[in-house]
Symmetry: C3
């Protein structure tokens, strides 16, 4: 494995932008991170091995998935897709990063008509981890620009579409 | 955007020290990360847009906020301010980093007078995410030292002081 | 403190591999990250100061601990050892990194005999933070290879073995 330190920040920025686009349900921002014919494969790693959950082929499907495959945020709702402990491999114009991920569901409490009760202090709502697993991003550099050409999402727990 | 890889570790160290100072409620350690006239603005991004929650002006106010705006830890209590998926921009002696954040509340279970019951195993207590949102740090380098000159904290859920 | 940016990715990779080995309960992969006579000390930082919980001496003990000190995953179970906000110090062939950590317990829901009920959507199971604290890794480079020579694990909440 060859580490090129100037490349690593660029790749991690793509992952950071992935999390923002997913949380904003912003298909256009998401699609821009991928090559036009990129493929995302989604798996559940269960007791009987890897179970394929779905596949997205091409930037148009990836863009659409932000509204078709992901539920819109409820009122006062938000999410955080978060990544951890990146394993980075860089080899010339090819690279890949595997991360742990956890997705948090965030729902705020609506302010009561008569205002917050006396003694209320701090953040009002719930923040709950709802998904976890591994992202594996495969990148390629073309004309000096790194993009995702392939990605595997592996869930730890069963996922129903 | 220009990435200077030798600078990025220095900026991330400031963020790591921010999380430690916040968890230790250490006003002096926190204030040292900021310029003397730095400003922190706190927002809630709600259904009606950005709502200003508060503002700290100057290192003295920032130092004091660790004891005035943050509750002390209860017995056997602790916290973890954690950051994720940094978006880094560096331009000469100016830089900024946006992170996702989650704050965890940690409360240990007190050991019973008669000792732990038979069969007790593992960590005893609760770890709960209580706040989430985005930190946006704006840095400036003066005489070779990077400090925070401005910071926006944006909460996902309503926050009551 | 001297930052050598080409070294930092190598050290962070060791930490990322630590989290993977812990989650896979893979003693051989874990032991490879340490020097042959490495020492791990485990503490609980409680109201009365630091309480020693245990000590592992040498790679053989470290390897064995993945099956003796850690519970095997239950059916449909998994874990995520995650690290945050690294404080990095590099000095020639010596280095250390302190991280915050949270360990998540993951348990999937088993698919019902008759299939998932109508209206089921998303990930099925629970993801729960069960441990938190600080990892402090001390590294040494020998013959060009970085390994962990000493590690302190400090828990925030009481831990019963």
């Amino acid at each position: 494995m060859q580490i090129t330190t100037s490349t690593e920040p660029e790749l991690k920025e793509i992952i950071a932008r992935y999390t923002r686009a997913a949380d904003q349900r912003d298909g256009a921002a998401m699609a821009k991170l991928y090559e036009a014919d990129a493929v995302i494969e989604v798996y559940y790693r269960g007791p009987d091995g890897m179970e394929a959950l779905g596949k997205l082929s091409g930037a148009a499907q990836i863009e659409a998935s932000m509204t078709t495959a992901m539920a819109p945020h409820p009122p006062l709702g938000w999410s955080h897709h978060t990544t951890y402990d990146h394993l980075v491999t860089i080899d010339g114009d090819e690279a890949d990063i595997e991360t742990q991920f956890i997705t948090y569901d965030v729902v705020g409490t609506r302010k009561p008509e008569g205002g917050w009760p006396a003694g209320t202090f701090g953040a009002q709502g719930t923040i709950k981890p709802i998904e976890s697993g591994y992202y594996h991003y495969f990148f390629r550099r073309t004309d000096g620009v790194w993009r995702i050409r392939r990605m595997n999402i592996t869930h730890d727990i069963p996922y129903v579409f």
